[in-house]
């Protein structure tokens, strides 16, 4: 784990309005207000962080991976990416990224998809969809509300032939992304427990989430 890397003179650990430690394999949710910046930090490196966003005052508006890819004309998330909702609105904009590779094509692991991908023997392993189900249920939502997500720090190259495979993550300890909220959003995270593929180096690790007020 490395030291905190400052991206703006105005944002320090001391003046963060929220600072959350999320253990390996655990879920988390919290509200990010319009104008606030959320930093998601891969504290120990090579950890996939499965993330969803919902409009805070109307959960029927939520993250859309297809709209986000279509609006960018690209499959990967990076600095400047506008995180789009299913209603065509910008939810957040990515303003900083020390890693350079984030996926939104491969979705979250689940007990069910693990059986298909890795064999029925992997059914009883904790998975992101179960984290999401538990976490969104706290907000009155259910399985139907879980949509394809962003996988921060997950490395899923897609070849021109269509070939798609999860390979070793490239994030180092302390790597981060920062997003500024363009509307009030509920952020829901599953700190991925997957140990059947290299999305987190076969070794899930803790992460940190920090939120700051706007600088204006």
């Amino acid at each position: 784990m490395s030291d905190f890397i400052q991206t703006s003179p105005a944002r320090t650990i001391q003046n963060a309005v929220q600072d959350h430690f999320i253990p390996a394999e655990a879920p988390w949710s919290g509200v990010v207000r319009k104008g606030q910046t959320i930093r998601i930090e891969d504290s120990l490196g090579q950890q996939a962080i499965d993330t969803l966003f919902y409009r805070a005052d109307d959960f029927s508006e939520r993250y859309s991976n297809q709209d986000t890819m279509r609006m960018q004309g690209a499959a990967y998330i990076g600095i400047g990416t506008k995180i789009m909702s299913n209603e065509g609105n910008v939810m957040l904009t990515m303003t900083a990224d020390s890693c350079g590779r984030h996926d939104t094509s491969a979705g979250a692991c689940s007990c069910e998809s693990n059986t298909v991908r890795f064999g029925h023997g992997t059914k009883y392993l904790h998975a992101c969809r179960d984290n999401f189900v538990l976490e969104v249920s706290k907000h009155g939502m259910g399985k139907r509300d879980i949509v394809p997500n962003i996988n921060f720090f997950m490395n899923v190259p897609i070849k021109p032939t269509g070939e798609m495979t999860i390979v070793d993550g490239i994030s180092a300890p302390g790597d981060y992304v920062e997003l500024v909220a363009e509307m009030d959003v509920l952020c829901v995270i599953s700190n991925c427990p997957q140990i059947n593929n290299p999305c987190n180096g076969f070794d899930p690790t803790p992460i940190r989430v920090l939120i700051w007020d706007g600088e204006d």
Binding site: S60, M69, A75, S105, G107, I146, T165, N196
Partner: protein, 273 residues
């Protein structure tokens, strides 16, 4: 920060297991998938046909589809993208899941021999025929805003609104609209990660046949794909034929082509037991 790392031995064992799965998945073991289906399509026996619908360009349609039935989606004489969504008829919280479909089959390129998964690790459709081989499971469909930008001043219909209408008429709502599979949209990703419309727009006369592997509600929209190179809004009609499919043989291609499909169908069997 209290955290105990896994042991190097444990990590090495899991990595070895993944690499074995990856090798099998990428090498299409145990069966090699065939090329595109021949054009024109063979006739469907009249006695097997349950219903035939011509959807005008830019419109929508939905149908119930029972396990063992199939649909042929035929471009006819035009070039048209068909957006498709589907829900389990008995529990609409189970629905088409394209991120899982691509991930578990190690490819975004869907074609004859591949299957389409739900979010519950079960197979919804088998792609039993496909003359096109050019489909898009990543980019989604048009919206009012994307059409307004592409066709300024023109009166158009869009996929997002069509799917809202379908969902609401089925008693569902906006929360229930899943990611979209675009049939007949040759979209691929360049090495740098940008999308492109590769080569020909698609051939008139192309068709896809999907066999239902569970009872479903299926929705279709026939608006142009957001990357369709035609600058004019002129979507063409699409003919959909719902028919009683032949029972799958023991060596059915879609059920046996990959280890992943075999395990998906094992999950279907448990559901239907």
């Amino acid at each position: 920060m209290m955290h105990v790392r896994r042991s190097p031995e444990e990590i090495a064992a899991n990595r070895a297991r993944y690499e074995e799965h990856q090798k099998k998945g990428l090498e299409f073991a145990p069966k090699t998938l065939p090329g595109p289906s021949p054009v024109p399509a063979s006739a469907i026996a009249a006695a097997a046909i349950i219903h035939q619908e011509t959807i005008p360009g830019g419109w929508y349609w939905s149908t119930k589809l029972l396990r063992g039935e199939a649909i042929r989606i035929d471009q006819g004489e035009g070039n048209s993208t068909v957006a498709l969504v589907a829900w389990n008829a008995e529990d609409t919280s189970e629905r088409i899941n394209l991120v899982d479909t691509a991930k578990v089959q190690w490819t975004t390129a869907l074609g004859k021999g591949r299957v389409i998964f739900s979010d519950m690790g079960r197979v919804m459709f088998s792609i039993i025929e496909d003359s096109s081989g050019a489909h898009d499971c990543l980019m989604g469909g048009s919206t009012a805003a994307s059409n307004a930008a592409k066709y300024p001043g023109e009166k158009t219909r869009n996929t997002r609104d069509n799917l809202i209408i379908i969902a609401v008429k089925l008693g569902l709502d906006r929360r229930d609209i899943p990611g979209i599979l675009n049939l007949f949209a040759p979209v691929r990703l360049a090495e740098a990660g940008g999308f492109g419309w590769q080569g020909k727009r698609s051939n008139s006369g192309d068709y896809v046949e999907l066999r239902a592997e569970m009872d479903m509600l299926v929705g279709f929209s026939t608006c142009p794909h957001p990357l369709d190179p035609d600058p004019a809004y002129q979507p063409k009609p699409v003919v959909i034929t719902r028919y009683k499919a032949a029972a799958p043989a023991a060596d059915d291609l879609c059920r046996t082509a990959t280890a992943e499909a075999v395990r998906g169908f094992e999950n279907n069997t448990l559901m239907q037991a």
